[in-house]
Symmetry: C2
């Protein structure tokens, strides 16, 4: 956690530091990201930085957990209608919400993507200890409920489906990044939605020729 001094800062300055840090940590992994660069871009002295944060890890954990909290907040705000939906609708809803989040908060999304690649174990576990793993249990619970309701094939392995869905998340993100490189957002919205529906079609119907 940042020191008290940091929270006593003017909001403008505080926000600048955080947004610079988000940029730095989404651009490069933990070891490569540089405190010196963050200080320079945020126009603060090195010494000031260490009056706000205990060390590099302190800032990293703070920024990452903020992004996670933001995402949870974003999702939970519209999840009330959730139990009325079928599983297909729930999945589509989640994926589309995910895309929406990435479009609304591209910096947080990039941060999350960078975190999922992070190979520094110290940095990784420091963030995870701070409270995570929600998405896995969320998927599992959804699947469990749908099975109980007789909505999906009992032969489907819950864990396998969970990992599959998590994989799809990053596949969608990669697809988005490719599409969004230099073209306008609006223009690609249809493409991405179609891509999500294609993935969901496979997951629900399988790829085998149907007999009916």
């Amino acid at each position: 956690m940042p020191k008290e001094t940091f929270f006593n800062l003017q909001a403008d300055k505080r926000n600048l530091i955080i947004s610079v840090a988000i940029y730095e940590f989404s651009k490069a992994d933990y070891n490569t990201a540089s405190i010196n660069q963050i200080c320079k871009k945020a126009c603060i002295a090195k010494g000031s930085f260490y009056q706000y944060f205990a060390d590099k890890l302190d800032l990293y954990v703070y920024v990452m957990t903020s992004a996670i909290e933001e995402k949870i907040k974003f999702f939970s705000s519209t999840i009330t209608e959730f139990h009325n939906l079928t599983l297909l609708e729930q999945f589509r809803f989640l994926f589309k919400k995910g895309i929406e989040f990435a479009k609304k908060h591209p910096k947080y999304a990039a941060l999350g993507e960078q975190f999922s690649k992070e190979s520094d174990e110290t940095a990784k576990s420091a963030v995870i200890k701070e409270g995570n793993k929600q998405s896995e249990t969320l998927f599992m619970q959804m699947i469990h409920n749908a099975k109980a309701k007789g909505e999906i094939d009992n032969k489907v392995d819950t864990l396998a489906l969970t990992l599959l869905l998590q994989s799809l998340n990053s596949a969608i993100y990669k697809y988005m990044q490719d599409k969004f490189e230099s073209i306008s957002y609006e223009h690609n919205e249809k493409d991405i939605n179609a891509f999500v529906d294609s993935l969901l079609y496979i997951v629900f119907n399988g790829i085998k020729i149907k007999t009916d």
Copy 2:
């Protein structure tokens, strides 16, 4: 490409350097991996290293492309029987071959996994330029053939399925890593095969309740 001096080296020394480099580059990303450490562990002087390789990138590209070549060699040796198989059997074959490869050459597999996370664009594109993208086109061709043969549902989007299958690859790798952390290989072989089959069951049959 390494300099001539490197290839004039005794095989033992050459292999030691390479295996140390493989270890270093599979443990950490391109920027974090250290030439100094490689020299120390391979018992060669810094100056010697730069008589073998032009720079860090030279070694990186050499090691990565070696791993890719090794994997291609491993696959192509047993792929003759391929056209007799159904698509399901082909996919199962590929995934199981992948697992086999990771078990036989865990260091190459770890290297590949690290590469897929690499965020240094210079390092990444230097390797890709050296010849890659085979797996994507392989999957696409397989799907295309299967569609022509009427083996899979035409409503399935080829690109979506390709990205899905690539995602599954890394999902399987993660599952393996979890399982293999401290227990014997043999003991988990059944688990992993079952996991692969669970994934393939979903991909082929979908998760929806069947009417037949």
